[in-house]
């Protein structure tokens, strides 16, 4: 298969740009700080005040470093993608691209692929820092591979959101703000919705049961499944699979109701596939938006 020309051009340009160097430095710098912090907490602080190092809590280092890296991914991907189409538009190079043989979908996919490559490049550059965990043990290569997979999936997911807004809006600024906005909605908004639902149910329960209220957790029902598109919860479910027992996930869900054992068991994979599905949908819409000859989504009233 030939490489997508847009992909190749993007890589060539981004490798040369000073921005890439800055992102690389910032990304690994912040990650290294978290690594040092995790190390310090576990060995220096714990051993000084406890006299011993609790090897059971060493997995905490892994958790701290990966949570930091995952957070960095969430913050980096919008910056990598929100300018993808709007940037070409602002630079007045988009029209030319659209008059070439490239289809809108090829342009979109080339942009996505280059952003994801960049993300993978960053993730790989951080491997030495992640490898700290290996010096102690407790984490398998499979866990590592799974984490890398999660990074890629998250990059595709958030990247598709970024590209969608980049296609929808003329200005990169609007696209960037919207993408971070959606990120906030996915990460915190979904939780807020569940809290709100829980609150409403609680108030209703109080009404019906009068003063004497038997203790019962309000159940948000299937609404809890909106957490499947919350990247933070996806990460959490992966961590629980890897270094936990699943009990923390259960008690977390318990705040809002119950999740069937089947779904909870495969939460990670279900959410990964769901997020990839949403991504495909967003990329499809973006390609359609980019097509100058498309039929409009809505028809203007015909003046007869």
């Amino acid at each position: 298969m030939r490489f997508n020309p847009v992909y190749r051009k993007e890589l060539k340009i981004s490798i040369r740009s000073i921005r890439t160097a800055i992102i690389l430095l910032g990304y690994n710098g912040i990650l290294a700080l978290f690594g040092l912090f995790a190390f310090y907490v576990t060995f220096e602080y714990d051993s000084r005040y406890g006299g011993t190092v609790d090897y059971a809590s060493i997995l905490r280092i892994y958790a701290i470093i990966t949570v930091a890296e995952f957070g960095l991914v969430l913050f980096t991907v919008p910056a990598l993608t929100a300018a993808s189409i709007s940037g070409e538009r602002e630079r007045q190079t988009l029209e030319i691209l659209l008059t070439t043989k490239l289809t809108p979908l090829q342009i979109i996919l080339g942009k996505l692929a280059s952003s994801i490559s960049m993300m993978i490049f960053l993730a790989f550059s951080s491997l030495p820092i992640l490898a700290i965990v290996f010096t102690i043990g407790g984490v398998t290569l499979r866990d590592f591979a799974e984490f890398m997979l999660l990074i890629v999936v998250t990059a595709v997911f958030i990247g598709s959101v970024g590209i969608f807004f980049s296609t929808l809006f003329k200005k990169t600024t609007s696209a960037t703000v919207s993408t971070y906005g959606v990120l906030l909605v996915l990460g915190l908004g979904t939780l807020a919705v569940l809290w709100a639902i829980r609150l409403i149910i609680q108030i209703k329960m109080k009404k019906f049961s009068g003063d004497v209220m038997p203790y019962q957790t309000p159940d948000a029902g299937n609404w809890i499944l909106i957490l499947l598109i919350n990247p933070a919860v996806t990460y959490f479910s992966m961590m629980e699979d890897q270094i936990g027992t699943g009990s923390r996930l259960t008690s977390f869900f318990g705040n809002f109701g119950t999740v069937s054992m089947e779904i909870q068991k495969y939460w990670f994979f279900i959410s990964v596939f769901l997020q990839l599905g949403v991504s495909a949908f967003l990329l499809g819409i973006s390609a359609r938006l980019l097509n100058p000859l498309r039929n409009r989504f809505y028809r203007k009233k015909k003046s007869s």
């Binding site: 020309p5 051009k9 060539k12 340009i13 007045q92 190079t93 008059t99 070439t100 043989k101 100058p292």
Partner: protein, 312 residues
Amino acid sequence: MLLIKNLTKKYGKFTALDNLNMEIKKGEIFGFVGPNGAGKTTTMRIVSGLLKTDSGTVNVDGVDAGTNPGELKSKIGYMPDFFGVYDNLKALEYMEFYASIYGITGNKAKQLCLELMDLVQLTDQGDSYVDEMSRGMKQRLCLARSLVHNPRLLVLDEPASGLDPRARLEMKDILKELHNKGKTILISSHILPELAQMCTNIGIIEKGKMVVSGTVEEILSARGTASPIVMKFTAGQDRAVEVLKQNSLVQNITIRDNSISILFKGNETEEADILAAMIQSGAMLSSFTREESSLESLFMQITAGEEQEVSE
């Protein structure tokens, strides 16, 4: 090569193209002239597959633009009126990027790109970063880029605008060269003289309508009495305008700072009559002449609105 029939395009309620008809035959350089806002860019964007039509057909080398946009794109090399280049890319890489879109890569691409850069007089500029080039150079690079897939029809939107005279001359030479190579070219401008010397055909568009089109010679010879009459006044210009407005042979009045030019479809006797009528009305004429025929005056006359102020 290009056949446009009854093309209509609306932006909301505004009609940008109104039943436009146009034909370009193989090997022609078609100068597409009209004032700003006449609809040149709109037409060219439709021809290049960047804009949907509301009605009418556009056919490029046997391909219908509406139904087969993919095929259309392979036939057309488009250079927009405004365009940008990428930062951090060298001229040769810029060319190679577009070549790679058409599956031309490696040495073959390099050879082709260098050839095209040669053609647009950018020899030895392969290593320059495109964002550091002058406007004229960028324009020529963009022209070379539009040739990468050997298109049948070149669509150039105001390629000379914003260029200094020297760069314009270079652009003109390049277009001549392309013409000699047998390319069919559609080129727009809002300045007629710029095009008159290098085009084989001219089409004049105004308010979305093709006002006149044909070979340069045809247009000049078909004019006959069509050249305007220019008058100068020392006083009473307003009264003269009133007289002119009454006369049905006067088809177009253009008022400038110190003269009036009219389009007059009458013979010499009728000319004398209208002159007498104006003097009778009290206007003080200092000059009354039929203008020498030139493409430029034709353009002025056609594109000047019914009656408008032109300040010079």
